[in-house]
Symmetry: C5
Subunit: 355 residues, 5 copies
């Protein structure tokens, strides 16, 4: 959360469209991967310069240019310029603290997504990466912050001859990429679910202050997740209902499917939030329950022994004329009185169901 | 809740439309039941293969194909293909963690419902089953997870000569199925209501920590119920307001009736939620009330006896020159002082209404 | 609340339109009252059978058929059939756990209302009765659960020559009936207001656990009231904005007036709810305040006497060589020390404003 | 709040349009003030009867009839009838528990406002008065509950030659009246703000139970204020967006200005509500903080002295063979032990930051 | 907050459009800065009078008149009059307690913004300044409360030859100004974020009552911020979707960009609010946790020593016939009993996990 605001302030006063990379540098070198295909042919390259990306116009089919690493603002700027992107779009691509959104610029559609992933197998906390897509009539540009094999499944499907991607246009390719990103959310949610479940068991077994902090931590993560899913839903909904000629009608069904997935994700996030709230309540009332137990014990011990101590004190007085002290049965009598008091007290607590 | 997310992640990266059964296998064998009828004739079969389901085109009337058990993805896929379903629809049918929804695909309408039922008479917690319906111009496909006699009442009504189902089209049959599913909710709600009532009595009589856990458990179940009723309402509302030619105008009145039922269910769920919240408040304040009672007792005992013990301690001192100790009436005087203090204290508590 | 769900479940599986009376039987015998009038003539009858209700077609004017008692499903069914009501409408009339609603069936408008009344003068808790209205072009059917003189004022106004009802159509009569039902809410609200006020005084004077239970009871009643007023508002709003030819434009002003009343009722209910919430807060903080008072007393007594008792114990020790014990002024010195400690303590508490 | 419901119930069963004054009688005699003006002429009168109010038709300009005091229902009724008002409008004028609202009756617009004022300079609590306006093509009727000089500033502006009111139509006059009423809210809010500020200082300095009651009192007043401002906003918004020919386009800018003011008022009310909620939280946590302080003191005193008293008690035992009692250094040793225990305890509390 | 209401009340009763400066006087003298430019030429002046601001009509290009200091109502009035502004607009400019808003007056668009800034580097609390913009076809009027170099970056960009501002129209200039103001919010948010972070660390380390007050203070500031951001978002959204010919289509993309920024700001504010709420919860439960710790210690000490003290008191009794006192091993036996009791108690607490 804080990152977003930190970096943003360095841009204050700069004219709009200024190319500044806002975010962490996650790869050493910016890398371009190009894929061009139609139903029959397929071309795959890793061009070193932006200029090599552009195939002769009569190529046909769909061209997919993927760029990993955004710190090379000059390269991104040039790619944007050659593709005819509005300077503000290029600025948004470089600025990795965007909310997910969709802007229809007529000749192309600009989509910003947030991809969640786990840095390694064991890490509970998900990392976030901004992915920008530009959907043109016959091309898709995708911009990633880090170099990853995130889109490899799609590349594999393209390489496979029979897949639907090969037959679809640029919009279908974009759908496939978005679908992949959205599917990642389920993995992340599942792991969060595991953590919540573990916490719940801990809560029932032996809640500590740490449990409370973990609860709040998870709550905050959930709030963060929510903040990136809701606008995602909105963006995909916009795309689905879009009347842009760039989105073919046949792709609509697929987009509706992704849309359904985002709603499922939101549902899950809301459920997790509710669960966490409920767990907080249980934590608090279990703490207050233990407090009660402590109080009860104190009360029982104190109210049983205070009268006894008083009796003991009584016969510890040094008055010259205290007849009881001289009685032969004085001492047993004192014991009798004290035992009677104690029994009465215990009986009272029994009746009150405190014991 | 968690189930949904668990299973979903295994699909990550697969192309859309991939036929994977997401969910538990609830029956041994996938079973098809076919019913074809018009006002005069009626045919009932249990075909072993998908191919046997399709009657000659000139049959007329309504064909209802019901499939129990979704693990045989190949069979579902073939049925879908022969009926001309979109691959994503088939995927959705197999994926049993859908939200209730309605998709109008032009030639057919696809509806996903969640059916609630009690596994046996005594179980308090309802089970959930996904039921998918495909409503075509002259056929209805229904997909269930388990083999049950859930739809038997409808079959009976069809077998009976005079029923409205026989006269209605495929849309009326679909309505009848949905109505049956929605009616089940009332049964489930009623049982939840019984559990809430029992809990309420327990709460007034003798609340324990278990009561609190039960409360939270019921709250979570209610949240879960709510999550499946709201989209159900939405789906049925979509169906009612649908302008699809598949839904005849005359069926609209019936759909509005089911819609009213879903609103009643939502009302009941919300009322139960409110009741549970109120019960939580009562639980907490009854706990804090008992705490107060404990504290009061401690205070009364302690504040009465502490001064008395002090007096006793006073005359237990061993000073050589303590005139009171020598007085003949010293001991009775000490008693008098102590009794006076005790009476004053008790009077004070009386006035404060603590006793 | 619970009633609604109980009875409903017996209907599960029955075909729609099945005539089952859902609700309590509140009268011995179903009774029909008929009134037919136009500006010049007026006919009043109590027909024994449904058939007698139907006057010759050329009668003109408005016919109002009122039916008290719904358990005679057969009679209601026949009346419905003869009036051309949809079977589902008849089912809804018999099912007394409907939400207030309005359905426009083209030839007639079906309205369900909830009437609140006090069974007797002293009862605080309002009873609820379902009233169904069918508004036709020249007739109004009204169905009540119990036989009451609830609609007598309207009958009196009709009998009076000059009233507006006589000049108005069926829609105006329906308006007059709805207005009467809505006006009842004000009476009920007023009585609830009295109870809230009484509770508030109790709360300030001497809150007990009973006060808390009363508060929650009132809160639940308010929630229940709210559940019947909101859909009422919706139904009347639908009626007002209706473009049905059954509702004449001139009646629109009157319906807007009733609508304003429902909004006022909602306002009052919401205000009461807020008041009850505020009272709950006051209750809780007054309980916690008293707890504090108790704690303070305990602390003051204990912290004043514990050091004194220690001093007394000190000089109660039996060491052979304790010089103070031999001092002639030892005892007065001990007193001086103890009085000094007590005074210091009291001064401290004074400064802390605890005394 | 309660007033509204009380009086309303007396009307139950009366036909709509019945002229009953609902509210308090705030003036002795109903008084009419008439003002007629155009850009060149101005007429001012105080007619004794309704009939004198109506100038010859060819008068031109704007006629403003103001009526103070609503208990003379007969007079209001006659004025309404002569102005062609709908009976329900006259009923609404007499019924002073209306919500602010706007009804467009085609030939005239009916507006109900709530005016807030302070009865005298020192009173903190605002009084409420209902003001009804009827805006016709060339006349404005205004109805007030009490006789006040509330509208004098407008009269002065009209009397002044150059003011915009003189040039404007009836709608501009109505705007001016509404603007005046809305401006009053700022005065009332300011005084409430003063009270909140005073309470806040009290809260920080020395919160008592009275502070809590004041807080709840202010909260309720704020809720009440809110209930009259929200519908006011709605009514003015309706007026601004009205397509009635009675509202000239040029007046629209002015109405938008009043609308902006109502939004500012709502903003302020919401801010005050938030502040009061925050203050309630601070009150509660300051109470619980003081509780903690009390508990801490008790704990420290008790835990320091209880072991000491034990040691003292120990050497108060009368065993025949207790070697320590015979030691010459026994007594100083006991002191040493006790001082050591006390120091250890204090050190512990220091480390725990309780001291 | 309070300021706004204070000053506003002095205007009560004044006719609309009366020129009264509502707000603090922040500069000594009102100062005008004029800039006129097109793609080739640029003129910069600081005219002493309003009249000097108006260049000959055939000048072409964009004229930007900036006015610092609003107390010279006469000068603002004259500038407004010469520019053809509606009197209410001039009133709004002078009234510095406006909400951000946008009014389209046809010939010009009037925008009110709230600019946030830090008075000096160290101040945590942001100051607020109202900035009004009037966007005409070829001019922009900007009104500031204080003289600052806030708009210098824009002036520099204009002075620079190649910038987009020089090529754009008045709407682009207005956009640039708004963008600058919105960018300021990020700086302010960042600093608030720093304060929240610092507070969070304090909360974990050592929460005091001051922490609570700081929390509430920040919460209130956040509420205040929220109150100015939400209407800002609305105003900019209106501007973006405006169909006014004053806003060229090309500027729309830029306005959408500012709009996205306001949404990001709202997101951040909401996140901060959530964080503060969470921190409040943590504060409260950490306070109650410490309370528990205190209680536990008291209970442990008291319950261990109370029985011991009783035993000591027992053998301090002065009965003549107490056999134990005569036993040679009586004293060690007493010790043994006491040690046994203490060990039992400690073991019990160990098992209960209190130690």
């Amino acid at each position: 959360m804080r990152r977003m605001l930190k970096s943003r302030s360095v841009k204050g006063g700069l004219p709009p469209g200024a190319l500044v990379h806002v975010g962490e540098r996650k790869v050493d070198e910016t890398k371009i991967k190009l894929m061009a295909y139609d139903e029959t042919r397929i071309v795959e390259r890793e061009p070193g310069t932006v200029e090599e990306c552009f195939l002769p116009k009569d190529h046909g089919g769909v061209t997919w240019i993927n760029l990993d690493g955004l710190h090379d603002t000059e390269m991104v700027g040039r790619l944007g310029a050659r593709s005819g992107l509005h300077p503000l779009v290029v600025e948004d691509i470089l600025n990795t603290d965007q909310r997910p959104k969709l802007d229809d610029h007529g000749e192309y559609i600009f989509v910003v997504l947030k991809s969640l992933y786990h840095a390694d197998e064991d890490s509970g906390e998900p990392e976030i990466e901004q992915i920008s897509l530009v959907i043109g009539p016959d091309y898709v540009l995708s911009f990633q912050e880090r170099e990853g094999d995130e889109f490899e499944p799609i590349r594999d499907r393209i390489r496979g001859n029979v897949s639907r991607v090969r037959k679809g246009g640029a919009d279908y390719l974009a759908y496939a990429l978005i679908d992949l990103v959205v599917d990642q959310y389920f993995v992340v949610l599942e792991r969060l679910g595991d953590r919540i479940e573990a916490l719940e068991e801990e809560l029932v077994a032996a809640p500590t202050t740490q449990t409370l902090h973990d609860l709040h931590h998870l709550k905050r993560e959930m709030a963060f997740l929510r903040k990136s899913v809701w606008p995602l839903r909105e963006a995909i909904s916009k795309l689905e209902r879009s009347e842009s000629p760039l989105i073919h009608e046949a792709t609509g069904v697929y987009l509706r499917d992704v849309y359904d997935h985002t709603i499922q994700i939101i549902d899950a996030v809301e459920t997790f939030r509710d669960m966490l709230s409920g767990m907080l309540d249980i934590y608090l009332s279990s703490v207050s329950n233990r407090m009660n137990e402590v109080m009860k014990l104190l009360t029982i011990i104190a109210t049983v022994f205070i009268p006894l101590t008083f009796v003991a004190g009584l016969y510890g007085m040094n008055f010259k004329y205290m007849p009881e002290l001289q009685w032969p049965w004085g001492y047993p009598m004192a014991w009798a009185i004290m035992i009677a008091i104690a029994l009465l007290m215990v009986a009272y607590f029994r009746r009150k169901k405190w014991l």
